[in-house]
Symmetry: C2
Subunit: 301 residues, 2 copies
């Protein structure tokens, strides 16, 4: 019997209990890849020496960092829990880098597209070569976005790491972290254009980066294209809840006054680098329709 290359893999997964980490775990189990999950009770993530030692014991072939702090119920919580946000999103990637470099271990880091705001002036999306424009250095961002951008800064010059930029995850599984679930339950919505990531397709694409050994570096891992809140609402009405009516804030100022404590990133990303490397995700419209058609309500949320 032919043994697939992937069967020689042993993945060390950080943050397996989180929304993104658990999707990685499902995928790797489905692919029958050996996974070791690590939580903060197993090892102090913030001690490079402790993590290094653990890597030496476990001897993984690849590490995935899906740990991070996103704030509950939303990113506003990061304005209050600044310390957790800074540790989880900015300091941790730096510590993992140290551990992976000293053990020569290739790895992938779940970064975020939320370090950008808007589009290029011609409406096109930001590529991996564009510097962040929604970060501490532009002094216009949420504490969360600032920390995620700082996390990317800490990985500058690293040789064996993928930076996978996720944007507004959604899937067919109703959940408090699912963008579609949020749109279905928020009292009022903000009209904005965004690139978004189907979570299952995101983790598949991330894993493909490694299993296909594409070059290391930053990748925008979103469904190609972009979509507005209004367009998603129309799709929800067409495919899931025909009777549901949605209310919108009159504009971003209205949203900031009534609902938010910190500015949100709304942005479009260019995914051509990932495609040029041979990894394709379904177009955003198609992926959202598929999720709505397969929609599975949670018992309680």
């Amino acid at each position: 019997m032919k043994v697939r290359c992937a069967h020689n893999e042993k993945v060390l997964l950080l943050g397996a209990s989180g929304y993104v980490g658990s999707a990685f775990l499902r995928l790797l189990k489905l692919e029958r890849i050996e996974v070791v999950t690590l939580s903060r009770s197993d090892v102090n993530y913030y001690e490079a020496a402790a993590l290094t030692e653990l890597i030496r014991q476990i001897r993984p072939t690849f590490l995935i960092n899906a740990a991070g702090y996103t704030g509950k119920p939303n990113v506003d919580a990061c304005e209050v829990h600044r310390s957790d946000c800074l540790l989880g999103n900015a300091a941790l990637p730096g510590v993992i880098r140290q551990a992976c470099e000293s053990t020569d271990l290739p790895w992938g880091h779940v970064s975020s597209g939320c370090i950008y705001q808007g589009t290029h002036s011609d409406g096109s999306g930001f590529s991996e070569q564009d510097p962040a424009n929604f970060d501490f250095r532009h002094n216009n961002c949420s504490f969360y976005s600032g920390c995620k951008a700082l996390g990317e800064e800490l990985l500058e010059g690293a040789q064996q790491v993928y930076l996978w930029r996720l944007r507004i995850p959604f899937s067919h599984l109703d959940s408090p972290r699912n963008y579609l679930s949020k749109l279905l339950r928020y009292e009022r919505l903000l009209e904005a254009r965004n690139s978004v990531s189907n979570l299952e397709e995101f983790v598949s694409a991330c894993w493909a980066c490694w299993s296909q050994r594409i070059p290391y570096g930053k990748y925008n891992v979103t469904n190609p294209g972009s979509i507005t809140t209004g367009q998603i609402v129309q799709l929800i009405q067409q495919h899931l809840c025909p009777e549901k009516r949605f209310q919108f804030f009159s504009d971003e100022a209205d949203f900031m006054t009534k609902a938010a404590k910190t500015p949100r990133s709304n942005c479009v990303l260019d995914t051509s680098k990932l495609e040029a490397a041979g990894i394709y995700m379904p177009a955003v419209q198609d992926s959202i329709i598929a999720s709505l058609k397969a929609w599975t309500w949670a018992d309680s949320i």
Copy 2:
């Protein structure tokens, strides 16, 4: 016998092995105050829960955070060791805040004046009310200054903490961290005007904040006034090394090209808030002369 109030104190000191921490330790021992020192092998500083538990066991009356990462031999090292710099200077104060708030423990944090650059346009120094102008949000700073400013941000709104801003420590004891030792040994100097802190006077003033129970908050803890590199060099020639000749960079651009990897903060601080609270440090010129007159060479440096 009358027992001084201070004798009821029990101080938990973090970073006691460092340049600033060891000065705190000397002072507290001299004052016969009970001190418990804590290093990273005793407790994982970055786990608020672990630190909280330890505080509950030790039951200190006050905590001093003199831990931090300054880079060796100088601040340029922070550009390389970003992870340690971010953990030690930005994340750690946030973690300590959590632990101190959950145990209702008052504390002091050694912050830095290096989050400023220059002076006000009229030449006056920056007060505690002036926002940082040399930080990530101005995108003009060293990684070290950015992290120290972020550390202050994480303490915003904290109720029971002193933020003691140190600037360029010096003393009569020759040491690699002593500014006078640096000036004596650098091949070439940069002319600039700065506020500076006599290290022994700094720790005395910090301790006075607590022992005199002045209001919590930010304090610039430098010797009043400011001084230029050229003026210090003259004092060194007058009081310590009459024969020594010093060479200067032609300007900051020359310095940045030949000697530095990251921009330095050179700034003047206003110390009137500390004085208004009744805590006085000797004028900068006097303090430097006293240090030079009491100068004690290290055997090797």
